[in-house]
Symmetry: C2
Subunit: 397 residues, 2 copies
């Protein structure tokens, strides 16, 4: 019954697949799973912040009371009560968001894939920050765009650069709060200018906001979504405020776009697990996030400060870094002659890991940059790891 | 802060998105959600078969014992113990399947999307059965192939037609067991011939098998995967043997392809929920499916027989239908002059629904066909609905 010596298939992959690469970060993570490695490479939230017992109680309740419908196929656009809750939460500053403007997705990475699928043709111009979130570059790359890197400075992207480079762009991808990888926050006046510029030029503005709630002090800056709901596509996630492993996010935008994304999602995976959506709704519907998020903020702020202090203590002159006001990442710029890829190879020898900066650039990578995450490492090990890194950098000067 | 009268965006969708359509079935399902409608239109498994309590106990156990890791980001290829379990179950008839040949996906619909993404360029030849599974046509369509419809008869696809039409095809998509929509089963000798033909011609053969375990009598026929593991891409699903709402399936194939699919999945949604995979592993690891699946078989066999009996009683001469040996669907061929789309409009007036056959054809739809599902309707209502349909058809003769 089994074929004898069949000719092995010579795989012919699609053009888009030929250029697919595994994420640099995921490859590094594999190397750094050894417990002796002090890893600043991860993009993982701290499991200390996961409300495990509350999630468990919600799974129990939903399965007891609505088990059969929770385990059945569900609607592609998502679980209606959760969409209504989100629409309500997003309706601020005089702009009303309707449930039909929301599509639930299997993690906001899926939102990026669907946006690429629906908006990007081969050769389409796509605007991204310099540098930008690696996962977004990966998701869009599949659809073979021509990336245009928008200029940035220490306050994030410069709207005038969008005006200069944006003509005919199919989308502008921005991560305004505690950006991954730089930790930068886009100031209020630039938000307004960016929204105005994109609206004037007819460029859909994607506002990706996984970290927005994780501000260490004060309140998050206003969302660009609410400045122009007709032109902004907002992406939200439960990964950083609840847990990432459940894979739940959402895309908010004008209904015309959302219906098209819904069709694309139907073809891609029919729908996101109904049970997960019902459980998350059960967990958050009475305002749980309002008590829970401040505990994450306090925890991450402390971790961040520990790393910043260690960097001041151990990093030599000539090294620069960002001082994030929220989120999970610090961005380091080394003297120009130091290649962070080579540095990583040596750091791993000494059981310290980070992510080199180059893969975050769509064009012209700056090879003297790197990203550090401080949320999953203990203060003692942050000190130890940063000290080792400092010594290593010093040896290159 | 809100923009005053911004110009609304004129959405420019990608070429692939312009041709995306909402599934005909999902549109019909919306109409038939009213409780008074007797719907044979669904493709939903019966919730009576969902092992809700067992799932609930498994969620409790996994969250109690491994909550933090279950809720954290996980590996893109999937939860290792589940992949090992599946590899072991699939290693029969002298062919060994290794865990690295398995990619866990968010329902097998996602497997179809990833296969299209990785194997299909614009204009690529893709072979499908006549008719074929609508969700597969939808998933592949996004990548703009040229579909070639392989000839079929009452025993399913005819391998000689693959030989005649297949030159240069990028894949052959087959659903050999209790096919959706026809309910047909591909006989053993045709399986061997199909596997040989595809191997000789270098065509990757996709074996989609969501219903394979739901045989009403005897044992399932051997999988084509095991006849040529180097040339067959197998797709499995937990939707019909456990529950569909959790969105869990898997793709099995040569490691070269699986690594490429894994990269595509990473860009598409990072990974499938770790918690879901751990729970399913917990539910099935001690052989639960071996006791559970027979109860589904018995239940569906009885439902199917009720519908077949009712059809014999109420359908007029000149109407033909399949007699499935498993699965969830019966395929009806009406006299050539009756258009099942028009019939549906009249049937819905009388509170009966089904799916017209045309959308299941990649080319040259036969408009006198329709699909009936018997698994979620009670025997009394099957009788009532089939009687009404019979009367309606009779009025057209």
């Amino acid at each position: 019954m089994k074929l004898e010596n069949p000719t092995p298939i010579e795989w012919k992959f699609s053009e888009r697949a030929e250029q697919l690469q595994s994420s640099a970060i995921r490859e590094i993570l594999k190397v750094t799973m050894r417990p002796e490695v002090i890893s600043f490479a991860g993009g993982l939230p701290s499991p200390e912040t996961f409300p495990v017992e509350r999630m468990q109680a919600a799974f129990d309740k939903v399965l007891s009371q609505q088990g059969k419908s929770a385990l059945q196929y569900g609607p592609t656009d998502g679980y209606a009560p959760l969409r209504e809750y989100l629409a309500d939460s997003l309706s601020v500053n005089g702009s009303q968001i309707l449930p039909e403007q929301i599509l639930m997705v299997s993690g906001s990475q899926q939102g990026l894939d669907l946006l690429g699928k629906v908006l990007v043709d081969e050769g389409s111009k796509v605007l991204v920050e310099t540098p930008s979130y690696l996962g977004a570059l990966q998701a869009f790359s599949v659809y073979q765009p021509k990336f245009e890197s928008v200029d940035t400075d220490e306050h994030g992207l410069i709207p005038a650069s969008v005006a200069a480079k944006g003509e005919g762009a199919r989308l502008m991808y921005a991560l305004p709060n505690f950006q991954n990888p730089t930790g930068r926050t886009l100031p209020m006046e630039r938000r307004v200018e960016l929204v105005e510029t994109c609206a004037r030029m007819g460029i859909p503005l994607v506002e990706d906001n996984p970290y927005g709630d994780l501000c260490y002090t004060g309140e998050p800056l206003p969302k660009m979504l609410n400045m122009n709901p007709a032109g902004v596509i907002y992406m939200g996630s439960f990964s950083k405020v609840l847990t990432p492993g459940i894979r739940l996010g959402y895309v908010v935008g004008p209904a015309t776009l959302i219906r098209k994304l819904e069709q694309a999602k139907q073809a891609a995976d029919l729908h996101t697990a109904q049970l997960t959506q019902m459980v998350v709704y059960e967990v958050i519907k009475d305002g749980f996030l309002g008590q829970h998020i401040p505990t994450i903020r306090t925890f991450y702020a402390k971790q961040c400060q520990v790393m910043l202090d260690a960097m001041s203590q151990y990093f030599p002159q000539g090294v620069e870094w960002t001082r994030p006001e929220g989120g999970m990442f610090i961005w380091v710029t080394l003297p120009r002659h130091i290649d962070s890829n080579q540095l990583l190879a040596e750091a791993i020898q000494q059981n310290v890991a980070f992510v080199p900066g180059a893969p975050f650039y769509a064009n012209n990578p700056e090879t003297n940059t790197l990203r550090l995450s401080f949320v999953t490492v203990s203060p003692e090990r942050i000190h130890e790891g940063i000290k080792k890194l400092g010594t290593l950098i010093r040896s290159k000067l």
